[in-house]
Subunit: 215 residues, 2 copies
């Protein structure tokens, strides 16, 4: 029966991983609506997805469904939270306390449901030593390596200027951080084992601009 996933046999595509998050969000909404079970077909219609894809995605990790019935909402939500690793809190640090860094520090999604921002780092002496509302400290960038030694940091967010992004990456990697969310407009060099996600807002704007032009 519960033929659990061989934990790393097939690599699980980027897109599929992202969909797991979307499913989780959908399930939370269904749960709030008081629904106990849902079929892949109803789920797909509700959120404009493809039912076969939902089943395939879920089946990669085990047999969560009940044939003839569908999926148990609460149980599947728990399974997905576990798969996504948000059942235990992840420590996040923000490198760069400029506009973006401070905004992210206050952003809801960064401080709920499995993630906790534990510190910001910046080089600007005017910012160092202050603390944002919520008591979040802004520390000196030079202190980051020492901080990483005494505090387990799961995810490092890069919100520094493009010029210092690589240097920041190197410090994160040296400190044992294995996942990086990069907002700087550069392709970072990091060892294969490090997970890097790039969020490049300028590219997003330019892509929209492209489609506007070619409409």
């Amino acid at each position: 029966m519960s033929r659990r996933s061989p934990a790393g046999s097939e690599p699980v595509s980027e897109a599929a991983a992202r969909r797991l998050s979307i499913y989780l969000r959908g399930l939370q909404q269904l749960e709030a609506d008081g629904l106990r079970t849902i079929s892949s077909h109803d789920f797909a219609r509700r959120f404009h997805l493809n039912s076969a894809q939902i089943r395939k995605d879920l089946a990669m990790f085990g047999e969560f469904g009940i044939r003839g019935v569908g999926y148990d909402v609460a149980s599947l939500r728990n399974h997905l939270a576990g798969l996504l690793g948000i059942d235990e809190e992840k420590n996040v640090i923000l490198c760069g306390a400029g506009n973006l860094g401070q905004a992210l520090a206050g952003y809801g999604g960064f401080n709920s449901a499995g993630f906790r921002v534990v510190a910001l780092f910046d080089v600007d002496p005017a910012k160092i030593g202050t603390s944002l509302r919520g008591g979040l400290p802004v520390l000196e960038s030079a202190a980051m390596p020492a901080f990483l030694v005494k505090t387990r940091v799961d995810i490092g967010v890069i919100a520094v200027p493009a010029e210092s992004a690589q240097k920041t990456t190197d410090a994160l990697v040296a400190g044992g951080v294995r996942a990086i969310l990069n907002f700087a407009p550069v392709r970072l060099r990091a060892p294969e084992r490090i997970f890097v996600k790039n969020v490049d807002l300028k590219i997003q704007l330019e892509t929209l601009s492209f489609y506007l032009r070619n409409s």
Copy 2:
């Protein structure tokens, strides 16, 4: 010769459009480095891309290269800027002047190279009427429809809470805005002709968390 693109014959994939931005950025760097021409092979090695893909992407829009030589850096940069529509300035408005909205207003990529933020909108009376450094005004959300009538807005950025994201979208669409960059964690409903790009930071974090768990 310049067999120009049939302007909308093949749809141009999402991924390809994004790469055009990346190529443009690379070309700007090469130009700063004083390079006059570059072959697809050298370009690929410099930025860790695939040379065949570069040629295919570019060939979709015309014959920009010179056989035996490569591409003229300045000329190709101009072509790409034109294709991406950033040779003429695009007006951007930010809906939501919270943490994220204000950060984006100050973000470099949103105020250079073809984009100009012309206004922020918010419902909070404490924010309305103020203006950020740079003189950018924060206007009342209710005034947005009137604003859209008198000012051409190319791109609307949604940085409001999830609950009001759809309402904001509807107002943008009604006001003739054809491209939307959405930071709210919901899938927006909009007519087919509207271009919507979603940037969901929570999903990015959860995806990283997933890979951490399954490493």
